[in-house]
């Protein structure tokens, strides 16, 4: 079935929103306006976009330390995200969480996560809740190639398989866990090969092709909704930036490799397709970008002008009163 034009435009908008958001965060970080650390998603936009385009607001996702893209793709609010990344009281988590801990429960976003491998068991739990309540809700777990080596990840996949939980494990294989190349951290060619260990389907797609990601996710989500259990969907991709802002990312990756992958940038590829398929014109693209730029500018201003939390906020929210 061809993908509806509206869906294509929605995905283009999401990808561009992520790219432009992350570019802005990178600039703001360089300008010392953002405390702590940020892990950017530039280069990997097609994964979150293609997967989340198959989800409903009522579906759940678990995210990672590199979470901005997942959150935006699941409908996260730019203003609230930027304010949180700044550590402002008006942010998603009242400034208490920061980039690595943004959540929006109303949108089914069960949080970015500072613990590599923290998300998969949570996703199994969210899927359990959907199954238990008899909704046809689905949980998607985003996790990296690095996280695929954690025991928690394997335990979650096994449990989800045993109970046929409606969860899709979306592996973002960008080939590196911080400085460690996946070639040295696993001895199977694809993370998806590991699905065999749990008796679930393992699918590999070009994670820089948003259409391929979308189509594979449609299948996996359909399976989950029908009660047929989890899928491990591996998306091959690459991060353009270092592990964090401030890491040049070149101590453990060659310049050639980075350049090679930049040629496979998911955004120009999708743009070309949209133009050739006459889904969008250059002009409509421009107007989409202007809208995003305006939204980001407003978000930045909101974040800048917002106050930091007050010291009286320090010990609130620890318990339910």
């Amino acid at each position: 079935m061809p993908i509806p034009k509206k869906k294509m435009i929605e995905m283009y908008t999401t990808m561009m929103k992520i790219r432009m958001f992350e570019t802005k965060v990178s600039e703001l970080f360089a300008a010392n306006k953002i405390p702590g650390v940020v892990h950017l998603y530039i280069g990997e936009e097609a994964v979150a976009t293609g997967v989340c385009a198959t989800l409903r607001d009522t579906d759940y996702i678990t995210s990672t330390h590199r979470g901005h893209g997942h959150l935006l793709a699941k409908g996260g609010d730019v203003k609230l995200m930027l304010a949180e990344v700044f550590g402002k009281k008006t942010g998603y988590c009242k400034g208490k969480g920061g980039s690595m801990h943004i959540a929006d429960i109303d949108l089914g976003i069960l949080g970015a996560n500072g613990i590599v491998g923290g998300g998969p068991p949570l996703a199994a739990g969210a899927a359990l809740a959907a199954q238990y309540k008899g909704t046809d809700g689905v949980a998607v777990c985003f996790f990296g190639d690095g996280a695929s080596n954690q025991g928690t990840t394997h335990e979650a996949m096994n449990l989800a398989a045993c109970w046929k939980l409606p969860v899709v494990f979306v592996n973002e294989n960008n080939m590196y866990g911080l400085s460690s190349c996946a070639l040295n951290t696993m001895c199977v060619a694809d993370v998806a090969d590991r699905a065999a260990a749990f008796g679930i389907p393992g699918v590999v797609v070009d994670g820089n092709d948003v259409i391929a990601v979308y189509e594979a996710a449609v299948e996996a989500v359909k399976r989950a909704r029908k009660g047929q259990g989890p899928t491990l969907l591996e998306c091959k991709t690459y991060r353009h930036r270092g592990h964090t802002e401030g890491d040049p990312g070149t101590a453990y990756r060659s310049k050639e490799e980075i350049e090679e992958w930049k040629k496979k940038d998911p955004i120009p590829r999708f743009e070309k397709r949209l133009l050739q398929g006459k889904v969008l014109t250059k002009q409509t693209m421009e107007s989409i970008l202007t809208t995003i730029a305006n939204e980001l500018a407003a978000g930045e201003q909101f974040a800048e002008e917002s106050p930091y939390p007050e010291t009286s906020d320090l010990t609130t929210d620890v318990y339910v009163d």
């Binding site: 402002k88 208490k96 590599v116 923290g118 400085s179 951290t185 007050e310 320090l314």
Partner: protein, 325 residues
């Protein structure tokens, strides 16, 4: 004496021990060519090779487990957990396996391993990358808990840790890595259970750990201007705890303030306060006071994180409260 920073002092200790004993090896995430996220292990892979500086996948359970198993079989691993916050993923291997094996097996096994990890707040790293969890480890019989505050202490204590036949948790405050100090050349050890008096004084005892030692020292200088003479005791190892040095100091000053970055509730200071109350109650002129973090996770926003971390001002205030009764 050469001057070096805390990270270099730790590297120096690792190098000395690896040169001395071929069974000493490093295991952890990004400890090889990347040289650890704070640069602590930089260059060691060039000298000792991949066999002895072992980069692992992201797999904390297996890191600790492999350290425990190989220690049980004659090696002396120095395992690294990048941030102590990540220990939760691997806790079983530490507290149910490493810590208890000797006891459970009737003393028939030794687990000579060190677990090094970065702890502490102050870098905007939020709730899962900033904790101080020393009290957790203190609570487990079988573990030793080391928490140095200076480069010289870090080096001597790490060498002791590596030579110790027990599992040792070695906690490095991440904001100390760049702090400098004089460090003796070559090998030397600092015995566990031997506190160090970082400043002598007669009016009040301040027991402080890790980064808080430096805050306390600064506070003491300011308090000296007000005529209050502070003695600062740095336990250096929390388990075993040098009770005698703390008690002797309290018997001299009759007043006690305990400063740590952990949350106050059930923190290491609670143990120290209880110990002093049990053993030197009659020497105290008034209540013991703790200056420590409030009972909440480490917040992200700079305005909150600053408030979370005990400050010089709060130490000064605490000392004055105790001294002025």
């Amino acid at each position: 004496m050469p001057t070096m920073n805390f990270a270099e002092a730790i590297r120096d200790a690792l190098r000395i021990e690896m040169e001395r004993d071929p069974n000493v090896y490093l295991i952890g995430e990004d400890v090889g060519t990347f040289g650890n996220v704070f640069g602590v292990t930089k260059g060691l892979i060039d000298q000792f090779g991949e066999k002895r500086v072992r980069d692992t996948p992201i797999t904390e359970s297996a890191i600790i487990g492999a350290a425990v198993g190989s220690a049980a079989c004659g090696l002396r691993p120095v395992a690294e957990i990048m941030y102590i916050d990540f220990i939760g993923v691997a806790l079983d291997q530490l507290y149910n396996q490493a810590a208890k094996m000797r006891y459970m097996f009737g003393g028939k096994i030794t687990i000579p391993m060190v677990l090094r990890s970065a702890c502490g707040a102050g870098r905007g790293s939020a709730a899962q990358h900033s904790q101080s969890l020393e009290a957790w480890f203190m609570h487990v019989p079988g573990l030793r808990v080391v928490m140095p505050s200076t480069p010289a202490d870090a080096k001597g204590l790490l060498i002791t840790a590596i030579r110790d036949d027990n599992p040792v948790v070695f906690l490095e405050h991440k904001l100390l890595y760049n702090t400098k100090g004089e460090v003796p050349e070559g090998e030397y050890t600092i015995p566990f259970g031997q506190a160090d008096i970082k400043r002598e004084g007669k009016d009040v005892t301040v027991v402080a750990t890790a980064r808080m030692v430096h805050y306390a020292l600064n506070a003491a200088e300011k308090l000296a201007a007000d005529g209050i003479d502070v003695e600062i005791v740095d336990p250096r190892t929390l388990s075993p705890l040098d009770e005698d040095t703390i008690l002797d100091s309290v018997k001299k000053t009759h007043k006690l303030v305990i400063v740590h970055e952990e949350v106050k509730f059930a923190g290491s200071g609670a143990e120290i306060a209880a110990m002093v109350a049990e053993k030197a109650f009659d020497y105290l002129d008034g209540p013991i006071l703790r200056v420590a973090a409030p009972f909440c996770p480490v917040p992200f926003a700079p305005s909150l994180e600053t408030e979370f971390i005990p400050s010089e001002e709060k130490i000064i205030e605490g000392v004055k409260t105790v001294v002025q009764g």
